[in-house]
Symmetry: C2
Subunit: 343 residues, 2 copies
């Protein structure tokens, strides 16, 4: 391209022989101009590579093409993976996604939402911290910005929720474990940050009671998002003080399970369904690393693809519809049981 520097849309309109506002229309929606006009613009575009000033665009536009993606803790590969999937769908649909992590900090989550407002995003996909979140701050944010919650639900906050059917997760793992061996006990944090954890515990109790089995729950101490460490420390303490009440342990999530497996390994307890194993361990989430634990982890998997698809699809629909839904929908995806070596 003979890139005679184009400074602005005015100049670009001149060299392409079209008026500036028409060029503006083209950039907002190429299909809104006549085919012949579009072709002339695109031909000029090849010769002069010009791009509209993004700040000037967004200044006057009522609605930008920005989409915010907010996750509670990006160093967790689970969120990294789901964020990646959502990001790519945004791009494919012509939006400009921006990714934020609250890094486990409620104050930072609030700051992110604050600065997100001034970006006038067309919509936001928010996975809240959960219990620690400043609920009223999030509510206020959702009043200003069309928001779809995902992963972690807050009742009546946001225009919709897309997440997991925790009951399906737990019932499948419990089902499998009781069918193939001793019924499991449940291993979790005492004060989980994430509402999914509470739903999983409740599901565990319900499923076990339905079967006439006693739902035994092991709660370990620990705050924050260092789940592996909490799981390991907690499991070490249990193993050192009498051990688990059954030979089968169902962890609330994979990251706790990774910590628990580390503890078992340290203490010399062989984990798995094979001969000579002392314990069986299963879990939930299908964390990206759970294929590489020792032993590999039997777990109930999220359908990352479907969740990302639905979350973005719901947001797109919301944006189309002007930012409000008549009724708040909650879409829950079932788990897929993944059998590996640990149980």
């Amino acid at each position: 391209m003979a890139d005679n520097k184009i400074r602005n849309m005015e100049e670009f309109a001149a060299v392409s022989g079209i008026s500036r506002p028409t060029v503006s229309k083209y950039f907002n929606d190429p299909d809104s101009v006549r085919r012949t006009t579009r072709e002339r613009i695109e031909k000029a575009l090849e010769r002069y590579d010009y791009r509209p000033n993004i700040f000037a665009m967004n200044q006057n536009r009522k609605l930008t093409k920005n989409v915010g993606i907010v996750v509670p803790y990006l160093a967790d590969p689970f969120f990294a993976e789901i964020a990646r999937q959502i990001e790519q769908r945004c791009i494919a649909a012509g939006f400009r996604p921006t990714l934020y992590s609250a890094h486990g900090d409620p104050a930072l989550e609030k700051d992110i939402l604050d600065s997100l407002v001034s970006l006038k995003p067309a919509g936001v996909l928010l996975a809240p911290l959960g219990r620690a979140s400043d609920r009223s701050a999030i509510e206020k944010f959702c009043d200003d910005v069309p928001t779809v919650l995902f992963d972690s639900n807050l009742d009546d906050v946001g225009e919709a929720f897309v997440g997991s059917d925790n009951f399906s997760f737990v019932s499948q793992t419990v089902d499998y474990l009781t069918r193939t061996g001793e019924p499991p006990c449940f291993f979790e944090m005492r004060t989980p940050a994430n509402p999914n954890a509470n739903k999983r515990r409740l599901a565990f109790v319900e499923v076990m009671e339905r079967r006439g089995l006693e739902p035994r729950i092991i709660k370990v101490e620990g705050e924050g998002w260092a789940f592996e460490e909490i799981g390991r420390d907690g499991a070490l303490r249990v193993l050192e003080t009498g051990g688990f009440p059954t030979n089968t342990i169902l962890c609330s999530n994979d990251r706790l399970a990774i910590g628990l497996l580390a503890a078992c390994y340290e203490k010399g307890f062989r984990v798995g369904r094979a001969e000579g194993c002392a314990l069986r361990v299963a879990s939930h989430d299908d964390h990206p690393f759970s294929r590489f634990t020792c032993p590999s982890l039997t777990t109930a998997a999220h359908d990352y693809d479907a969740v990302a698809n639905c979350a973005f699809g719901t947001l797109a629909e919301l944006i189309e519809g002007g930012g409000r839904f008549d009724t708040r929908t909650e879409t829950l995806f079932s788990a897929r049981l993944v059998l590996r070596a640990s149980a």
Copy 2:
């Protein structure tokens, strides 16, 4: 606050009894206005919560307060962690960081840089994909935007580089391993994407030869960023076809090691420095999960804190200095050996 809605800086200037441009100066640098003026503005700010329109600000400003952070693969907790640290330093210094991941895709990396240009960032911290990167695209980008490379160096690209002294990493691990047992062989990908991998191999060869030992290298097949899988598959193949040439394996990085440990576990090879172990395994990076592998991984650790600090500090300096350094500096940090159970 009696938030009588303030629409713009004009109105806010009116209610605070100051002229608009003075208010503008205040927002660009509160110390640039007289103390009495500043106090009047800040008093008004409490009553009327107003925030300047970020798009209008950036449209006319020659330099924004935006900082781009680009990493090759965010689902890798190593990058998630380093990005987190850098992010927080940006915020503390009054910048607006935005995080991007190339997700292992050179085309996406190029797209990110492209769209980053139009954000007129004050500076960018870029960890390139490495070998796969479109070097000329990155070079062109660095001409337009003050850029500091980190983690992964590209010769003569960007104004500075901050990374790791790979020789220090490898010499420490080799040193330790040879001192405490059989000399290691080196386990790596045949065609590593990251230049650090090449430097580590070269360092391994050099260190071994200095000791008069034969540098034996095991190369495994595989492309992309699924290092754990590549490590496991490669190790399985080795273990099934004669095994490793020594009982001590030094992995190029922790993620490969995680895969290798999974393979060893599957095949029943006990890893560690304790009695009865068949293999010792060590590695480099101190990946956030390497404390929770089975056994926990002996590794050469990055000083995440120092690297993040230096990378951002260098960028801040670069921005202060107008976006150019006289000479391109390369700052390398040494490793800290972390002894755990695997070797």
